[in-house]
């Protein structure tokens, strides 16, 4: 008996230390935000970094005393293994078992696409995390994508803007054979046709392609002015290596566009000087035009925690947007003073939101009103050095005009030196 009392006492004090048994917390349930995240599988490199961004936001908010009069924010996260097959079950569980108050989308297009109908049916706000045009067919009016993409064609338009200015008239399009890359490639084809750019080479390569030398050889034979590539992380590195070895010929003015993977530190570090000259999309870069209220502060925290968490040490691509997703709901909860989904959606749709990645406004389809996707060129990159990417000038921003920090160097083979 005596022993049991001691044990209970010890347990209670342990709980108190952990802050779990304090009366205030008992009365005030946390605000639960549910999501799945790619913590293993092909997208995990980005997924873990994105999650760390959200966690830093959560800790910042909780340190300031939480939301709605002291309610702490809690993230309920499950690993979706980068798989579209996992996400519908996870989001059903988040809604029915965990009974979360708000939803964040999983990282990337492929895992997000299958949860859209479910979320729409349940009338939940969904903050998008880097998916591309997943709402175009579903038409969920409570979808808000924090990614900088904007209108469907803006990504390709921006790239062709840069290429046409230096005299590009033909294009080769090489795309990975899966949802995201196909969407981006399709938009590129539409834009090319509209602008009268001739498509001289068009191929889709399957996931799990190991060796790209043969594909690059065929591409070279088509002698394009511009090469538009939409690849996924596992292939981008292999593809770029083959491009360096086989060469693409002197015709090519710019090469890149939609290569996913070149935004991740391990890939950038591994490729080193092979990156030079590539003109590719990005989301955030340490260029002077990219610092907003709280940006610098965020990256100081991120750099420290990324080392401990063994995730992408730079975290430019996804992490600040994970934080910004938090800022979006934080602003909406504060302004509407509640968790009503309709009120939050209305607030998000009608206002301009300041975040650490710049101001955001949404159009009726839930994508950003204007694109903030960066088109940047790698320059002067050396091998095996992570810290060089922290300095300005390694990835010069060519687009959009408002954020531009330099002019493109052509042709591609010259820009590599």
């Amino acid at each position: 008996m005596h022993r049991r009392t001691l044990l209970t006492g010890a347990l209670m004090s342990a709980l108190a230390v952990l802050g779990l048994a304090t009366p205030a917390a008992a009365q005030q349930p946390p605000i639960k935000i549910g999501l799945s995240m790619a913590m293993t599988g092909g997208l995990a490199g980005g997924g873990k970094s994105s999650l760390l961004g959200m966690e830093i936001w959560r800790d910042d908010v909780n340190a300031k005393g939480g939301l709605l009069g002291g309610r702490k924010v809690e993230l309920v996260v499950y690993d979706d293994k980068s798989s579209a097959a996992e996400t519908p079950a996870i989001y059903s569980k988040l809604l029915d078992v965990d009974k979360v108050d708000l939803l964040f989308a999983p990282y990337a297009t492929v895992p997000t696409a299958p949860i859209m109908p479910l979320v729409k049916q349940r009338g939940m706000v969904l903050i998008g995390n880097f998916s591309f045009q997943v709402n175009s067919k579903v038409g969920h009016d409570m979808w808000f994508n924090a990614a900088p993409w904007g209108p469907a064609d803006s990504w390709a338009s921006a790239y062709f803007d840069v290429g046409q200015k230096v005299g590009g008239k033909t294009v080769a399009i090489l795309a990975a054979d899966q949802e995201f890359s196909q969407n981006v490639a399709k938009a590129a084809k539409d834009v090319a046709n509209k602008r009268g750019i001739q498509i001289v080479f068009e191929q889709n390569y399957p996931p799990n392609t190991v060796e790209f030398s043969a594909i690059v050889r065929a591409l070279k034979a088509a002698k394009p002015d511009m090469v538009y590539i939409t690849s996924y992380p596992p292939d981008s590195a292999g593809l770029l290596r083959a491009i360096n070895e086989i060469g693409v010929g002197d015709n090519v003015k710019i090469l890149g566009g939609g290569m996913v993977g070149l935004q991740f530190t391990s890939v950038m570090e591994g490729l080193g000087s092979l990156l030079n000259g590539v003109v590719n999309y990005n989301t955030w870069l340490p260029e002077p035009s990219m610092y907003f209220d709280g940006t610098k502060d965020f990256f100081e925290k991120y750099s420290k925690r990324a080392v401990e968490a063994k995730v992408d040490p730079l975290g430019f691509y996804l992490a600040p947007f994970g934080y910004a997703m938090g800022q979006l709901v934080e602003g909406a909860i504060k302004s509407t003073n509640g968790l009503d989904q309709k009120a939050i959606a209305k607030y998000l749709r009608e206002n301009k939101h300041n975040t650490i990645v710049g101001p955001m406004e949404f159009s009726p389809d839930g994508e950003r009103k204007t694109t903030a996707t960066l088109i940047a060129q790698f320059r002067g990159v050396k091998d095996k050095n992570i810290d060089q990417f922290r300095t300005a000038g390694r990835q010069v921003i060519l687009f959009p005009e408002g954020l531009k920090t330099g002019e493109v160097i052509v042709p591609f083979e010259k820009a590599r030196n």
Partner: protein, 290 residues
Amino acid sequence: MFSLDLLRDAVVLGLLLGCFYAAVSIGLSVSFGLLDVPHVAHPAFLVLASYGVYVLNEYGIDPLLAGLMLTPVFFVIGLGTYWIYYETFEKRGQDQAVRGIAFFFGIAFIIEVLIILALGVDQRSVSAEYIGKSWRIWDMRIPMRLIVAFGVAILLIFLLTQYLSRTFTGWAIRAVAQDEGALRLMGANPFKIKRWAFGIATAVLGMAGALLIIVAPVEPTLDRAYIGRTFCVVVMAGLGSMSGTLAAAIILGVSESIVLTLFGASWAPAISFTLLLVVLAVRPQGLFGR
């Protein structure tokens, strides 16, 4: 868009790629082809070896040398794995193949998770003089890393063939593959020979893993992409034939490369299984089978 230049390049690149496929399959040709062990964890060990090479390369060791250094380590891992498999499955009888597959799938997943825990989920690659450069002959440019993979693969297969045909242990391994019962009657212990052979099959992965990460960056779940390819090569070759493995891998590499260059990349994954089906229909014992 067809031209002879393109076809020539496709054949050369395919030949090199094929030798690389042979190098990553040759271990399986011993473990599955000769020993009848349903070793679906073979590609997982391969990726594990690549990560070993990556870690050693971080200390400035050349990837090929690193692969060589890993060979004895993998030999021991192979001995241990076979011992567990034998004690828990093979010894007990009838449905060993089915349960063996489950066992090796389990091992593959454990390896994946261990790699993720230790080194994270990021893609890793190595650096060496010959990576990222190419060799020019006339107007043709051949990636140096594929030439290295080609050379090492040929050497590896040559050594293994010599070992199996010239040494006493080599004969014993082939004997156990042909008739385990007869071997037992001669007073030899098939378990010891098979364990040794499995050790060799795994040791070869040290070098093959080095080639894998030299040819392309690796990530922890890359093994899944290789299960189909390696089994296809081994079955197409005819179980247990070393030179057949090389020939089958080259056929696969060249066909893939020609299709990639001339017909479009979407068709490439269909190649391995189409070839396999054709071979199984026409010559069920494999191209070079007994």
